[in-house]
Amino acid sequence: MGNYSLFSIVREGLRGNTGWTPAWRDPDPKPSYDAVIIGGGGHGLATAYYLAKLHGMKNIAVVEKGWIGGGNSGRNTTIIRSNYLYDASAAIYEHALQLWEGLSQELNYNIMMSHRGVLNLAHDDNEARQLKRRVEANRLNGVDAEYLGPKEIKEFCPILNTSPDIRYPVIGATLQRRGGTNRHDAVCWGYARAADALGVDIIQNCEVTEILTERGAVTGVRTSRGDIRTEKVASVTAGHTSVIAGMVGVRLPIESHPLQALVSEPLKPINPCVVMSNAVHVYCSQSDKGELVIGAGIDGHTSYTQRGSLDIIEHQMAAIIELFPIFSRLRMMRQWGGIVDVCPDASPIISKTEVGGFYVNGGWGTGGWKATPGSGHAFADLVANDTPNAIAAPFTLERFVTGDLVAEHGAAAVAH
């Protein structure tokens, strides 16, 4: 596998594209590894990549029950931002955003990162006050943030309905210009390719059915493709974190809910940014293919079915038409649901557990995608060194006992 470059594209173009090789190997599981990462999504592959690159652990495997990027990585709305309220959250999401900014170059893979700006709308005075507070908090943490009035919003996103006559008028918004969207598959493929080049085994169609322990410490995993010995197991299985942790008897403060999104028929470029509204409950951006990608809140009930309820779609459509009357006759092409594991404080868990060698990265709730590189970076550090670094420290499991919660419901942009 060579580097992708203008030269290689021209060379392969002249050779009839016969010289490309697979971007990563398809190895069978070895009998033992130094570490096994369960879950081949963005976070898991990023963890593997940073473990290999920064911590010198070359003998590691990522095991994935389906195909890489086939779970929540393929089911999100690809929105990137870091405008969280609290210092702990700002630290990890901003860390991620800074990594996103250079990721295409670092991985030698075009992740189609587009810093088109994210608007978070305010519809009443209380929300406007909270958003202004968040802008100040962001600036103190070095996160770019602006507060816009209706006129400036209209200039930034002309198709947004800023009339004062609608049921929930748009009275202001925060803008993070460095926020935006990227291409979810490309991120997974780019991380997989880069990790593979560093010697990481990416094993697909390999489901972990059991985690083997001895005297309170991990000794290996049992999979649908045989047993693998290892002293470190890192779970990065969003949606199913409770199921994996249950294999070693670890209880977590997590409930799994469906979160759904839908996509419209493709349009010419019309929506220049990402628009999110916490109050009327919709978020919308336009993909490079031209489809509007529209998300909503979680379903109230817990479930593992990867389906959403119709009443959420109805709610979401009502909100989108109020904010964007121009979309009223748009046809929706497809809808899907993913399972998000939600923590009581709407913040993730990056933690070791009472079982030696068993690490958990999960509970990202409704906003895991934007954190992918930062999450992998911090989690790799924890798995390699067995102690959380400064960024991961506020997100350990201890916070639920000490009460030192990172209550980010307001900045999560989705009602829980």
């Binding site: 029950k65 389906g66 195909w67 086939g70 779970g71 169609n205 489901e207 059915t209 649908s224 199913h240 409770s242 199921v243 209880r251 977590l252 403060p253 997590i254 409930e255 799994s256 109230g300 009930h301 817990t302 479930s303 593992y304 079915t305 990867q306 389906r307 309820s309 119709l310 009443d311 399972i339 594991d341 009581p344 639920f400 006992v401 000490t402 009460g403």
Partner: protein, 121 residues
């Protein structure tokens, strides 16, 4: 979308109801002697079962009463509805599953092969 049977009002659309979390978690009576870890267990830790799950619902737009339900969270099939204070009925939900035991109807269906139904809960 669910059709939910309120034990007081009968069958209604899901939009009349709100989910109220895991059932049968009782508030501790001797809270003054509890450790922080015990509080964390009561407040935050949940089974989050994949399979037959006992949960509370409230008929928010109806009689406004709480009741319990058994639902298979891997298939979203409701198995029973019962009043608060009653014991959950013994129910075996026979679900086809994959060779490694994961139930069909969730997750990655492409890797799933049905095996003959045998196991219950």
């Amino acid at each position: 979308m669910f059709v939910i049977t309120c034990p007081y009002c009968g069958e209604r659309d899901q939009s009349e109801f709100a989910h109220a979390g895991e059932a049968h978690i009782s508030r501790p009576t001797e809270s003054e002697t509890m450790t922080d870890a015990e509080w964390a267990e009561f407040l935050f830790m949940r089974d989050n079962t994949k399979g037959i799950h006992a949960e509370r619902w409230i008929h928010a737009a109806g009689c406004r009463r709480f009741f319990n339900a058994l639902r298979n969270t891997a298939t979203d099939r409701f198995l029973a509805f019962y009043k608060i204070g009653e014991k959950p009925p013994e129910i075996d939900d026979v679900v086809p599953a994959t060779p490694c035991g994961e139930t069909v109807g969730s997750g990655n269906d492409a890797v799933k092969v049905e095996r003959p139904p045998e196991a219950g809960r």
